[in-house]
């Protein structure tokens, strides 16, 4: 007979401050002779880490043994796959703003981290991954579970390092956390040989304050800020496109002040979403392939494009040769490599965007661009009539994804953390979900990792435990990491899981319909009974098929204080519009 397992208590429910302080005090006073494995734990504590995600195995066992000893100070969440550990760490980092930590063993444990690392790299998520490695004397001998994870992870990490001596641990960990969170954040991987975990040394920890070859925040060029202000004050039809830089730079408040003073309509990239409330009158919607009609069309009509903390991804720009050619471009950016990478900036403003905006705001004239904003409103009316009404208030046919999102808005008062996977549901969720505060949208933008949402939602909930976290997932992506239901069950992380089931790999099917004459090659899914699976993990679960049952089902899910699974069976062959066909210009955006 099934019994309730011992519940893993999340650190947030604990009063652990005193113990942690004691541990830190100990460190400040003197060095202590400890093993490399214990040093790993003490480094994590010294960096303020209280929660890590991982999966044990041979080469990392000494560290797990120390985790056991330190379990009252450092919580470990056992995911069901190492990929889940990285996505959970990412979700945690995205909602909490702290560095996410994932840990795994050597060989397959390490290679299973790679997708999450690549995802964190392209979406600039601060993460430290720790992997075990075979003993240093076995390196290169093709030992059991040996893999060159440094070589494998190099192209997808901001920095990585292989520790072969215990004494290297404090310095490398300090450096790793510093690099992961500073400047443009990103993932760092530390590989530790098993002998370095066993060996003892005199441990003392010092936080990293700088790396001589690394300059994370470029010095702000006040001249560039002045030039930017001049262009902004002269512009007749200025347009802001903001990205995640605003969130990563904790510049939301300054950004809002800039938008309001300058009166300029502002649109977001998928990762910038939630930095400015959805209902803000100057928030004109999303740019990009499935973005809103107005922001995309008017990209090619504005006379000034002000890009803030975004990188002109191809899904945003479409064809570069016909992207905002008529406009002057100002690019606020922290990473010099992004300047002129895809779009040439007339005025690049390098620096931390909070600092840049702070310098900019006093130089900007207070204005309102009524007529220009009217253009966005006109085009929004067109989009509502042609697309949005059908999406969210359908008169006939099966349930739509849009209806489900609107219902979630209603029952969370538009204040949930929405975690999405990749595909049609992701575009629909980002288009229709309401947001009132920042760090509320967690999605895999750059890499487009199916399977991201379920584990990321676990991390998102633990990073923001007081908030409602709703994972919206397609039936395809859900099955890529469905095993993380086990993690949800074991930790009782109160994640609300909504699977929008159209029994298709919907986005690929949409492309097949539009560009491959409806040759639906391997996109139809024959799905299991998702409710039964959730129930198998002892989760509350429900399925809704009819329009009249949707609201009640969503209400019931939100009212629950436990993890909850809801399958919404939606129309099989609905498409997401508007759409800019791949490689086309933003002006060629299609409404159907």
């Amino acid at each position: 007979m099934w019994q309730q397992p011992p519940r893993v208590v999340l650190p947030i429910f604990r009063t652990m401050k005193t113990k942690e302080q004691i541990a830190l005090q100990e460190l400040e006073n003197e060095s202590i002779n400890i093993s490399g494995a214990e040093a790993v734990i003490r480094c994590l504590l010294a960096e303020g880490v209280d929660l890590i995600y991982g999966y044990p195995g041979g080469a990392i066992m000494p560290v797990y043994d120390e985790l056991y000893k330190f379990q009252d100070q450092l919580n470990h969440v056992l995911t069901r796959h190492e990929q889940g550990a990285t996505h959970a760490a990412q979700g945690y980092a995205r909602t909490s703003g702290k560095v996410g930590v994932a840990i795994a063993t050597s060989g397959p444990g390490a290679t299973n981290l790679v997708t999450g690392i690549a995802d964190a790299q392209i979406d600039s998520t601060p993460m430290v991954c720790i992997t075990g490695q075979v003993a240093s004397k076995l390196l290169g001998s093709d030992a059991f579970q040996e893999t060159d994870i440094i070589g494998i992870s190099t192209p997808v990490t901001k920095w990585n390092y292989q520790i072969t001596k215990a004494s290297e641990i404090p310095e490398i960990f300090a450096k790793a956390f510093y690099i992961a969170r500073s400047g443009r954040p990103g993932p760092v991987l530390i590989d530790i040989t098993k002998d370095a975990q066993f060996d003892t040394f005199d441990f003392a920890y010092q936080k990293c304050k700088g790396v001589r070859s690394y300059n994370p925040i470029p010095v702000l060029d006040t001249n560039a800020v002045r030039q930017a202000a001049e262009l902004i004050n002269q512009a007749k039809k200025p347009f802001i496109v903001w990205g995640q830089g605003v969130i990563l730079g904790e510049a939301e408040e300054r950004f809002k002040a800039f938008v309001e003073k300058s009166g300029i309509p502002a649109a977001w990239t998928i990762l910038g979403l939630s930095a400015l409330p959805t209902s803000h009158p100057l928030n004109v919607g999303m740019v990009g392939m499935h973005g809103n009609y107005g922001p995309n069309l008017l990209t090619n009509e504005c006379d000034l494009l002000i890009a803030i903390g975004m990188r002109f991804d191809d899904r945003v720009t479409g064809d570069l040769n016909s992207y905002a050619k008529q406009a002057k471009i100002i690019h606020f950016e922290i990473d010099p490599a992004e300047i002129n990478k895809n779009v040439k900036a007339d005025v690049p403003v390098l620096g931390d965007c909070k600092e840049s905006l702070n310098a900019l705001i006093p130089l900007v004239e207070k204005k309102s661009h009524k007529q220009w904003i009217g253009r966005f409103e006109e085009l929004m009316k067109v989009e509502v009539k042609e697309v949005i009404d059908k999406d969210i208030h359908p008169k006939k046919g099966g349930l739509t994804m849009g209806e489900a999102i609107v219902s979630i808005n209603k029952h969370t008062k538009g204040d949930a953390v929405i975690v999405t996977d990749v595909g049609q549901h992701q575009m629909v969720a980002c288009r229709y979900a309401d947001f009132v505060r920042s760090r509320s949208n967690v999605t895999s933008g750059g890499l487009g990792t199916m399977g991201f949402a379920l584990p990321a939602a676990i991390g998102a909930k633990m990073g923001a435990p007081e908030r409602e976290v709703v994972a919206v997932i397609g039936d395809g992506g859900y099955q890529m990491t469905i095993q993380e239901l086990g993690t949800i069950f074991q930790t009782q992380a109160a994640v609300k899981i909504v699977v929008l089931n159209n029994e298709f790999l919907g986005m690929v099917r949409q492309w097949q319909q539009l560009f491959f004459d409806k040759r639906y090659a391997s996109t139809e899914m024959v799905n299991p009974d998702f409710v039964a699976i959730a129930k198998g993990y002892h989760l509350e679960a429900d399925r809704v098929e009819k329009r009249e049952d949707l609201d009640a089902a969503v209400a019931k899910m939100i009212a629950s204080d436990k993890p909850y699974f809801l399958e919404v069976c939606v129309e099989k062959e609905d498409n997401v519009f508007p759409m800019i066909p791949s490689g086309a210009s933003v002006s060629d955006i299609r409404l159907k």
Partner: protein
């Protein structure tokens, strides 16, 4: 328009950095024509010299991606006109050829090559210079039978100042 560019990288001397740098080229499907690494003029600072044939726009982006790496101090690109550069080549020839074909001695003398070693079986010639000079010597010696031939990557020094010490000093005071 594609052109030969010399990419100079000043970096920390860390295991794996070569891999990190070469992966930047790999990701963009850019072939490395030659690559040499050595210590630089500054203690503990390493220098890479990488030769690529790309457009200027492409090399500019490469430099930014290279500089973005945590362990890279600075990276630069230069054209051939802006650098002094050399390559070294070694040629191994049968000793009998040296005595039977008097012409070889003239070739060596005219090309300002050095004889590094002579043994009863073979002798080794070294030539440092531009590619066309080592190429010419190669073609001149080939008819006599080259047992082995090898040429180094380009090493290069810029006519302009690099100022790495100042950059390092500044980083130090910033932190």
């Amino acid at each position: 328009m594609e052109k030969t560019y010399t990419v100079s990288i000043y970096s920390e001397n860390n295991v794996g950095l070569l891999n990190r740098i070469s992966s930047i080229f790999l990701k963009r499907h850019i072939n490395i024509e030659s690559l040499t690494t050595s210590q630089s003029e500054i203690k503990d600072v390493f220098r890479f010299i990488i030769i690529v044939n790309v457009t200027e726009e492409s090399v500019k982006k490469l430099i930014k991606q290279i500089e973005k790496q945590v362990d890279v101090i600075r990276a630069f690109y230069h054209t051939d006109e802006e650098t002094i550069f050399q390559e070294s080549a070694l040629y191994k020839v049968k000793s009998s050829a040296l005595f039977e074909e008097r012409h070889i001695q003239n070739i060596i003398k005219e090309s300002h090559a050095n004889i590094v070693t002579v043994s009863p079986e073979y002798f080794v010639i070294e030539k440092t210079g531009f590619r066309k000079e080592t190429d010419r010597l190669y073609h001149d010696l080939a008819p006599f039978g080259l047992l082995q031939f090898v040429r180094s990557g380009r090493i290069s020094i810029t006519k302009s100042k690099m100022g790495i010490s100042e950059i390092l000093k500044k980083f130090k005071s910033d932190n």
